[in-house]
Structure formats: structure tokens, C-alpha cells
């Protein structure tokens, strides 16, 4: 174990002195932050569409009332009074954008129609928005017809269909708890997302083990190292070393991303982050790392060069991405068949488990226990297998091992 720690220390030191690694270390969180900003940029776009110029040819002196209705609605209109003739409108609209002309005259009172002329480029919701002008015009129309104010109030009030059944009280009661559960789900989501982030971060950093093992073969230093330590120690050292590197990556990312997140999102993240559940979630993330790290280190030892990875090795590289397949089914039914399958398959269980625990209100403790047991047993098995593969593979120079050969080493 002492030798493993020395190797781990060396791997950390070697990478921390490597410019490529350092650049990657800071680039990853910066890219995350950058994407967050790009996301909000697009978000702003849809929230605040461009201003619409609305010209009203007002024959009924209703403009101030219309103006007020629009102000209350919060639509981004800029309204002007105009005395342009209807026949000239088309010429006027030609070549202009986000512009509309509304003609309010006797036709509105007599036939209840208001001609609206729009430019070709205009907010797609404009024709819906313009409906808001209906009620002031309607009111005026009724006033013209000589209806008294009281009658007017009755006529213009809409009819409400009240739900008078027994459930009424029930819905009223659940309403506040709905709001409560939404904050609860956020509480759950934060530790889950945090643990998921840690897992992705350390697993991806761990993928470098792959390269580290094959690079050691390429540089032909493996045999020199193995004259001082056993293959098992070398392998453990690598797994621990890249775990530490992954944690460093996570910490750097959090230090950069979290302040930005806290600033952008008006929500007390910290309060919900450090809950007891986080320990289990991080535990799952670490188990996930150990599983993939042992696979990577074993497979890395079978390759002479990362660029010559065969189909088999390439397939293994894809294993950490397997949980992404389950995201859809699990989100749509977090306790469904797919979610359960994902929970029990060792390659997907860390990812699927994290996802489910984030979404589910009630944690399925039995399933968690079974899945953790499966995970721990598979880690143990894969560590053993990786050890066997690593021992032979790391000294095989110049060629990739075929699956057949690997199978032979495992059986040996």
C-alpha cells in the first residue's frame, strides 16, 4: 500500500506539472460557465422579444384607454396615434418591421370588426396580444347602445363556472403542499446534481488512466517500475492517483462554477447541498469511479497506443456513457422497469441510481442496498480481472491484445 501511495503521488505530481493537464483543469469549468452564459443569452432573447410599433387611427377617442390596457398587460408595444388613411397603409408597411396599424372607427361599433394591418416581420403572438383591446372597445360599444352602468357591469362581467363538488376543499388543501414539494425536490436535486457532477468529473479524469497505462508501455518504463513494485501496487497507485486528480478537477470546477451559479440562480444552494443524503450520493459516485477505473486500467494495459485502440477497446471506452441511454426512461418513470434494470446493471447503476435518487421522493432503500451490493461485488471482480490483465498486458510491447488473449490471461 505504501508503494501504491508513492505511485499515486507521482501520478498526481506528474500530471500537475503537465501543461496540457493544467489547461484542461481550468478550461473544463470555464467552458461550463461559458455555456451557462450562452444559455442565459438565448433565454433573454425569448423572454424579451423586440418592441412592436403600433399605430392607431383613432376615430372614437379611445386611445388613452387602449394605452392603459396595454400598459397593464405588460406587452412591449410602443403606441402612437396616427391619421393615416387605410389606402396608404400597405405602402407604409412595405419595408418596415414589427409594425402594425389599427383602425378604430364606426365599423368597430357597428359591425364589431377592427382592421389590423401588420408588417411581414412581426412578433408571432401579436395577433393574440391584440385581443386585449377587445374589452375596452366592447365597453364603449355597449355604452353607445345606451346600456346603464349597472347593466353594463353585469353584462361585461364574465360568467364563472364554479366547481362545487366535494373535492373543492381537497384541492385547496393540496395547493400549498404542492409548493412545498417543489422546494423539496430542489433540495433533493442539488445534492444529486452535485454528486453526479463529481462522478462525471472523476470518471472523465479517470479515463486518463487508460492513456497512462498504455503510455507506460509505449515509453517502455513499465518494466523499470515493476522492478520496484508489484503490478498490483502499480495498478492501485494509478487508480488512487487519478482519483485524486479527479477530485482536484472537481474542486477547481466547483470553485469556479459555484459562485457563478449562486450569482445567477437566486436560491440558497449551500443550504440544501450539505445534507446527510449527500454522503450516500458521493459514495455512489466514488463506487462508480472505482468500477470504471479498474476497467480502464486493465484495458489500457492491453493497448500499445491509444490511437490503435481496436473495436473491443473502443467499446469499453464507451461504457461510462451507457447511463445516458437510461436518462429518458428513468425521468419519465423513475420507478419503472427500465429504471430498475439500470439500477441493477453494474455499468449503469451509479449513474441511474444518482438520477433516480434525485428524482424520487421516497428512496427505495431495498433497491439501493441490492444495487450497492451488486456494485461492490462487481468492483471487486473487475479489480481482480484488471489485475490479471494488467500484470501480463503492461509488459506486452508493440501490439494490442486480442479479446481472446485477454480471456486467456484472465483464466490463467
Amino acid at each position: 500500500m505504501r508503494n501504491s501511495m508513492k505511485i499515486a503521488k507521482w501520478e498526481v505530481k506528474r500530471n500537475m506539472k503537465n501543461k496540457t493537464f493544467i489547461v484542461g483543469l481550468f478550461l473544463t469549468p470555464i467552458i461550463i460557465v461559458a455555456f451557462m452564459f450562452i444559455g442565459t443569452l438565448f433565454g433573454d432573447d425569448t423572454e424579451e422579444p423586440e418592441q412592436t410599433m403600433v399605430f392607431v387611427n383613432d376615430q372614437l377617442d379611445i386611445f388613452p384607454i387602449l394605452q392603459e390596457a396595454i400598459n397593464q398587460s405588460g406587452y412591449n408595444w410602443e403606441m402612437h396615434v396616427t391619421d393615416i388613411e387605410e389606402s396608404e397603409v400597405n405602402a407604409e408597411l412595405d419595408g418596415s418591421e414589427n409594425t402594425a396599424y389599427i383602425f378604430i372607427d364606426d365599423r368597430a361599433l357597428e359591425t364589431s370588426t377592427v382592421p389590423v394591418y401588420m408588417s411581414e416581420e412581426i412578433n408571432q403572438f401579436f395577433i393574440n396580444q391584440v385581443q386585449i383591446l377587445e374589452s375596452p372597445i366592447k365597453t364603449m360599444q355597449m355604452a353607445e347602445l345606451g346600456i346603464s352602468d349597472e347593466e353594463l357591469a353585469i353584462v361585461s362581467s364574465s360568467i364563472v363556472f364554479e366547481d362545487a363538488s366535494m373535492e373543492e376543499t381537497a384541492t385547496e388543501e393540496t395547493a400549498p403542499s404542492d409548493a412545498e414539494s417543489s422546494t423539496e425536490s430542489l433540495e433533493r436535486m442539488i445534492p444529486g446534481a452535485f454528486a453526479g457532477f463529481i462522478m462525471i468529473s472523476i470518471v472523465f479524469t479517470g479515463m486518463a488512466i487508460f492513456q497512462s497505462a498504455s503510455q507506460e508501455k509505449k515509453d517502455k518504463i513499465a518494466e523499470i517500475i515493476l522492478s520496484s513494485v508489484t503490478p498490483a501496487e502499480l495498478m492501485q497507485g494509478k487508480i488512487i492517483g487519478y482519483f485524486v486528480l479527479g477530485i482536484i478537477q472537481t474542486i477547481v470546477s466547483i470553485v469556479i462554477v459555484l459562485p457563478v451559479l449562486a450569482w445567477r440562480i437566486d436560491f440558497p444552494i449551500m443550504e440544501y447541498l450539505f445534507v446527510p443524503e449527500l454522503a450516500l450520493l458521493i459514495g455512489i459516485a466514488i463506487l462508480g469511479y472505482l468500477l470504471f477505473a479498474s476497467i480502464f486500467v486493465g484495458i489500457g494495459a492491453t493497448m500499445s497506443d491509444i490511437s490503435t485502440a481496436g473495436n473491443f477497446q473502443g467499446l469499453v471506452m464507451m461504457l461510462p456513457f451507457l447511463p445516458f441511454v437510461f436518462i429518458g426512461p428513468v425521468l419519465s418513470d423513475p420507478s419503472g422497469l427500465w429504471a430498475q434494470i439500470g439500477t441493477y446493471v453494474p455499468f449503469t447503476s451509479p449513474g441511474v441510481l444518482l438520477l433516480r435518487l434525485t428524482v424520487l421522493e421516497e428512496w427505495p432503500w431495498v433497491e439501493i442496498a441490492i444495487s450497492l451490493a451488486i456494485l461492490i461485488v462487481s468492483i471487486w471482480i473487475f479489480m481482480k480481472l484488471a489485475g490479471k490483465i494488467f500484470k501480463v498486458g503492461i509488459l506486452m510491447y508493440g501490439k494490442n491484445a486480442t479479446p481472446g488473449e485477454i480471456w486467456k490471461w484472465i483464466r490463467a
Binding site: 508513492k6 506539472k17 515509453d219 517502455k220 518504463i221 523499470i224 520496484s228 509488459l395
Partner: protein, 310 residues
């Protein structure tokens, strides 16, 4: 001399092919022991078995002065045949790392590293990245890494391969020095001239089997018989009739007569028949190189498996 390492009845097979057959030898304190043999004879396999990088099918490897079953890795220095160093790492960093793996105190390692770098004309290169070194310089760093922790037993697999003559001399001298200071050295090579100049004992191996084992002097008296090279037009039959001639190699005007082990060169020369034409005559011992070539090419100069016990 104290025995440091004993290899007894080592056997190893890859698939169905037996690559080592009952290999036995020992390495003693302060001596240079050479394992010789053509490519594929089993030299590196033997060494890898000693280092615990491979496991023998049968036989035992004993490290004396060491209790316990595992290999005393900290006391062994090893320079493998397939060797290299991390590319993007500084010379001093890698030397200290390898010393640390051997549990050697770091301050002492640093001192020794600087001393050896200076000795090998690499002074001031300790902060240079490995990838900037030439191949020869890299090999020197590898060599330093194998001796930085003052090993009791040093195992060198083809230490001279790829070195220029100047560096070869440097290595040779340093290896000799280490032996004189009491390090037990086991080296493998196929560069006979170098081995002949420096080794105390040798073990020659062919197809996984021992061919010769003994001290250099013993091997020379036993196998390095006299041979006589004659330039001149002669019939092969005439030459073969000369007493004490074992075998004749004949080519154009040149004949090489391999002589009996007990031959007395002076009296043998006196008894040469007058009928033989001699333009030029040369008499010398068969070199280790020739023994090696003969073994490698199965000429059976050595008729039977010889054994000289040291």
C-alpha cells in the same frame, strides 16, 4: 566469494514451447557474471523470472541475505532490455521517483544523481525534460536510475545495446567499478568483445539450455583451442592428415585448421609437412566471439554439452 543469488533448475514454457530448460547458476558478490546467447536463447526470460516479472514453471530463485519469500526489490538494481522513461518529465524528477520507489533516502539520491550525471557528461541536464535528450543520453539516465539506490545485486539486460563506443567504455568502466566495490552483477549481452574484456564468469545459453558455464579463463582453456589459418594452395585432404587437426574449413586459398585441445603450438608447427604451401600462417586461440557464432549457428564446434565447474 559470497553467493548473492542462486538460480536452480529454472524451467519456463510459453504455450507448448519450452523456453528455459533446467537453468542453474549463481551470482556472487563483487563479480560480473555474464549470460550470453543469441537472440531468443532465453536470456531476458531468465532475467525476468529472477525479477519476478514472470513466474517460472519450476525451479527456485534464492536471494541470499534476505529472509522471506518475496524478492528484495529494494536491494536490486534492474535495467531491462525493453527500457525507456516517461517522456515529459525532468531528469531529476524521474531519478528521485525511482529512488523513492526503492525506499532510498531522497537527499542521498539527489547527491548521487548529480554525481553520476556529472560522471556521464550530463552535468546541468537534471532539469531537462527526458524527451529533449538524445537516445544515448536517455540510456545513461536509465543506467543511473538502476544504480542510484546502491543495489547489492545489479541486473543489466543488454546494457550496451545502442551505445556508441565512447559510452560503451564509460558503462564498462562503471560496471567494473561497481563490481570492485562489492556489487554482484548479472549482465546479459551478445557483444562478445565487451563481455570477454570484463566478465569474471559466464553462462552461455542456447535454446533455453546451458551450453557453457564457468570462469572466463576456464572457458577459454576448455573451449578456446588453437586454430591455425594458412594462406596457400593446398588440398583439403593433405591438411586433414596433419596430426591433431580436428576439423578443416577450406575456402579458396585459405584454410582454417581447428586443433586439438592438448596441442603444443611449437612442436605442432615443427611437425608440419613440408609439402604444404604457406604464403601466410597465423596461429591463435578461438575467440569467445567465434564460440558464440558457432553455437548460434549450430556448427557444433563444441561437440558435446560442455561443463566446467567453477
Amino acid at each position: 566469494m559470497e553467493v548473492m543469488l542462486t538460480v536452480e533448475g529454472l524451467e519456463k514454457a510459453f504455450k507448448d514451447k519450452q523456453v528455459l530448460k533446467r537453468i542453474s547458476f549463481d551470482v556472487r558478490k563483487g563479480e560480473i557474471m555474464a549470460i550470453l546467447g543469441p537472440n531468443g536463447a532465453g536470456k531476458s526470460t531468465t532475467i525476468r523470472n529472477i525479477m519476478g516479472i514472470m513466474y517460472p514453471d519450476a525451479g527456485s530463485i534464492t536471494f541470499h541475505h534476505h529472509n522471506g519469500k518475496d524478492i528484495p526489490r529494494n536491494k536490486i538494481g534492474y535495467l531491462p532490455e525493453e527500457r525507456g522513461l516517461y517522456k515529459n518529465v525532468k531528469v531529476m524528477d524521474i531519478l528521485l521517483y525511482l529512488a523513492e520507489l526503492k525506499d532510498y533516502p531522497l537527499d542521498k539520491a539527489k547527491e548521487r544523481a548529480l554525481m553520476y550525471l556529472k560522471k556521464f557528461d550530463l552535468e546541468g541536464k537534471e532539469k531537462v525534460s527526458i524527451e529533449e535528450l538524445s537516445k544515448g543520453m536517455g540510456q545513461k539516465v536509465q543506467f543511473i536510475s538502476s544504480i542510484i539506490h546502491e543495489p547489492e545485486l545489479l541486473i543489466l539486460d543488454e546494457p550496451f545495446s545502442g551505445l556508441d563506443p565512447v559510452s560503451q567504455e564509460l558503462f564498462k568502466e562503471e560496471i567494473r567499478n561497481l563490481a570492485n566495490n562489492g556489487t554482484a552483477i548479472l549482465l546479459s549481452s551478445h557483444q562478445m568483445n565487451l563481455v570477454e574484456e570484463m566478465c569474471d564468469r559466464l553462462f552461455m545459453i542456447q535454446r533455453g539450455q546451458k551450453v557453457i558455464y564457468g570462469t572466463l579463463d576456464e572457458v577459454k582453456t576448455e573451449y578456446a583451442n588453437f586454430k591455425c589459418t594458412i594462406h596457400g594452395k593446398n588440398q583439403i585432404n593433405d591438411l586433414e592428415r596433419i596430426p591433431q587437426v580436428l576439423r578443416v574449413e577450406h575456402e579458396d586459398d585459405r584454410s582454417i585448421l581447428y586443433l586439438d585441445k592438448d596441442v603444443e603450438p611449437t612442436s605442432w608447427l615443427k611437425n608440419l609437412p613440408e609439402s604444404i604451401q604457406i604464403q601466410e600462417l597465423k596461429i591463435n586461440r578461438i575467440s569467445l566471439h567465434e564460440i558464440f557464432i558457432d553455437i548460434a549457428t549450430d556448427k557444433n564446434l563444441i561437440q558435446e554439452e560442455g561443463e566446467v565447474l567453477a
